[in-house]
């Protein structure tokens, strides 16, 4: 806020500067703690970079797009292309699935349910967010996969002419595909998008909505002309937060996806795919010395990508929630 230099405009602030010894100490301690947020990000970047430097140096840019991962001593070629593409594909599937579901749920909670029920529904959505990813993974393998397999079979049978739903070899079955992994990721990001969207919906200007209703607008018109335009940027922020989470998801995807270094460009029902985070987990246990550095580099890649996505998402969500700023 631009302060007017006009002397009459100056308002006194209470306790502008710490003056006593104890106060100075208190303010220094809190500032130091706050600066630790930067220090932590810097430390993560530093250590990951230091440990992945040997791999980055030896692999060059092909690390990001090549598709060979061989830890035989002497060969030591580590390229992450299919995994990076797979991560993006799964995150995209997850976000495309989760967004309409989440926005619909948030809409029902904020505008259609009576007060008491909407509180219960909010609690249930929060509970979904609190489920550990290893449990989602367990459920994904033993409960969700058989169901999803049936759906995948039907999709392939009736829509198989469409390249997206075709598979190379029908005998491979329909488990462990990016389709299933995308749904698992969707289950994990639905609560995130829902809670951001619900918060934004609940803080919308009631006068606008009541005014539109009083003018005779229907529910659909209110959604289309009032709710969506005023809250779209916030929803996009929530979706980006979900995207960040989807890219970093590790254990649940590790269980439900067949990781493969043969790139799977778009055949979402094919039982082969990739995810950088799960790849780290799957290779970690028996990694050789050089492979260790390559896995660190893979971690660095996810870290930078998610950091950028989360920064953008945070800025968007903050801007669309002005009431959060004091």
């Amino acid at each position: 806020m631009a302060e007017n230099s006009n002397a009459t405009q100056v308002r006194r602030k209470l306790a502008v500067k710490p003056f006593s010894k104890g106060d100075k100490l208190f303010s220094r301690v809190t500032t130091a703690a706050a600066n630790f947020a930067f220090v932590l990000v810097a430390l993560i970047l530093f250590f990951l970079f230091a440990q992945s430097w040997p791999a980055l140096q030896s692999q060059g840019p092909a690390f990001l797009y090549g598709n060979l991962w061989d830890n035989t001593p002497g060969v030591d070629t580590y390229q992450l292309g299919p995994m990076i593409w797979g991560s993006l594909l799964i995150a995209l599937l997850g976000v495309l699935t989760a967004t309409p579901i989440s926005v619909a749920t948030a809409y029902l909670i904020a505008f259609m349910l009576p007060n008491r029920l909407s509180k219960v529904a909010t609690t249930l959505v929060d509970l979904l967010a609190a489920l550990p990813s290893v449990i989602i993974g367990l459920w994904g393998v033993y409960v969700f996969t058989p169901v999803a397999q049936e759906w995948a079979m039907l999709l392939n049978k009736y829509l198989g002419w469409f390249p997206l739903f075709s598979v190379d070899n029908i005998d491979q079955g329909f488990t462990s595909s990016p389709f299933i992994a995308g749904w698992i990721v969707a289950v994990m990001i639905i609560p995130i998008i829902t809670s951001v969207t619900r918060e934004i919906f609940s803080q919308l200007d009631r006068e606008l909505i009541n005014g539109a209703l009083a003018l005779g607008a229907s529910r659909y018109t209110v959604l289309r002309r009032v709710i969506i335009p005023t809250s779209s940027s916030g929803i996009i922020g929530g979706v980006l937060l979900g995207l960040g989470r989807a890219i970093g998801e590790t254990v649940a995807i590790f269980y439900v996806l067949q990781l493969s270094m043969d790139i799977n460009l778009f055949k979402v029902l094919q039982p082969q795919g990739g995810a950088v985070a799960s790849w780290i987990l799957s290779r970690f246990a028996e990694a050789t010395e050089t492979e260790f550095h390559a896995l660190m580099a893979a971690g660095l890649v996810i870290f930078i990508v998610t950091l950028i996505i989360n920064m953008i998402a945070g800025a968007i969500v903050n801007r669309s929630q002005p009431w959060r700023k004091a």
């Binding site: 209470l14 306790a15 006593s20 104890g22 106060d23 208190f26 809190t30 500032t31 703690a33 706050a34 600066n35 630790f36 947020a37 930067f38 932590l40 990000v41 430390l43 993560i44 250590f47 990951l48 440990q51 992945s52 579901i101 619909a104 749920t105 909670i109 505008f111 349910l113 007060n115 909407s118 609690t123 929060d126 979904l128 609190a130 489920l131 550990p132 290893v134 449990i135 367990l138 033993y142 909505i209 209703l213 659909y220 960040g244 989470r245 890219i247 970093g248 590790t250 985070a277 780290i280 987990l281 660190m296 971690g299 996810i302 998610t306 950091l307 996505i309 945070g314 903050n318 004091a326």
Partner: protein, 353 residues
């Protein structure tokens, strides 16, 4: 329509019997038809749902909508059907997870399963022996260490964000937010990278706790900030006006007023990390015995227990995983419910309005 209390008596709203009747018919009939057709044609549930139920439901809703409000009503009907369908899907997914964990896990859970450790137990030992006692203790130990590390720091960041006038505040806030999206596997790799940088190789409970620290910190900081913000500024000003220095105003006035909110921050932080698997797999060795020393030797937590026995792939080991999942869920539920109970107290964090 909006989530706010409406007067009980609404003299302007004339009850429309005919409309109520048709709306209820349109909500019940399609479900009956869908189920009937599915049984009559011996179709799998999934097909019946998409091929019969949804279209019939849509047509019925649109018909009723047109009957009462022309095209406007039809659009509203489509909107309502999809919104309800999607929300129902979310709750079906949630219930399916809870239901499967309890039905598959409860047969494994018994008294000895809760307190025995897994020493001398292999992946194929029958379920009469062994349990998750060591994993429960391990989880509690690791979470306790992380809590001791992360809570004071997160609290101080929350204090900084609510009291500082500095321009850095927004930057600190956005960094904290960005950290809250830190992928858990990266957090594990970070600690591992630091360890290997300093040539430190023993993977113990403490290194696992360190790997959970960056995940817990932002949650605590954010919730603490929100609950501190709900303390009326007047209280702080009154304390300062009486001559209290900032720090005493904080410790004697603001902190007691925000006590319950801060408890919530701690609980939500714990809920965030208690189920983490990937960072612990990278930074902690696992064991089948009980180990209460976080600074040396291997340590198993519930999530790594589930992971290990699931990977083994035998039916008895998978049953152990499901049993541990039940214990895990109960732990999460205890934390979750206590957080709810605390926030519900009148002195606690109200809904920001």
């Amino acid at each position: 329509m909006i989530a706010q209390p409406r007067p009980k008596v609404q003299p302007w709203a004339r009850p429309n019997r005919e409309k109520t009747l048709w709306v209820s018919v349109a909500s019940v009939l399609p479900a009956l038809l869908g189920v009937g057709l599915a049984f009559a044609l011996q179709l799998p549930f999934a097909v019946a749902l998409i091929v019969f139920f949804l279209p019939i439901q849509l047509v019925a809703a649109i018909a009723v909508g047109i009957r009462f409000a022309k095209i406007k009503g039809a659009k509203d009907a489509v909107l309502t059907v999809f919104v309800v369908f999607f929300t129902a899907l979310v709750f079906v997914l949630l219930l399916s997870v809870l239901e499967s964990v309890f039905t598959r896990g409860l047969p494994t859970v018994s008294a000895h399963f809760l307190y025995q450790n897994n020493r001398y137990i292999s992946t194929t030992t029958s379920l009469e022996y062994g349990g998750v006692g060591h994993a429960i203790l391990g989880s509690l130990l690791v979470v306790l260490i992380t809590t001791i590390l992360a809570v004071p720091l997160g609290l101080l960041i929350g204090v900084y964000l609510t009291t500082s006038q500095s321009k850095m505040r927004n930057l600190v806030r956005s960094f904290t937010q960005a950290l809250s999206g830190l992928p858990s596997v990266v957090s594990g790799l970070f600690v591992l990278a630091a360890m290997s940088y300093f040539g430190f190789s023993e993977r113990t409970g403490f290194t696992g706790a360190l790997a959970l620290f960056p995940l817990m910190l932002p949650t605590v900081a954010r919730v603490a900030e929100e609950s501190l913000r709900l303390v009326p500024q007047d209280l702080r000003w009154a304390a300062l006006g009486l001559g209290a220095p900032n720090y005493r105003a904080f410790f004697q006035v603001i902190l007691p007023a925000a006590k319950t909110g801060i408890m919530t921050a701690v609980l939500l932080g714990i809920a965030r990390i208690i189920g983490e698997t990937a960072p612990l797999l990278l930074t902690m060795s696992t064991t089948n015995g009980t180990n209460l020393n976080p600074f040396s030797g291997a340590l198993t937590t519930l999530p790594t227990f589930i992971y290990g026995f699931l990977n083994a792939g035998y039916s008895s080991s998978i049953a152990r995983s499901w049993g541990a999942a039940v214990v895990m869920l109960l732990l999460v539920a205890i934390i979750f419910i206590s957080a709810r109970v605390i926030t519900r107290k009148p002195s606690g964090k109200g809904k920001g309005k």
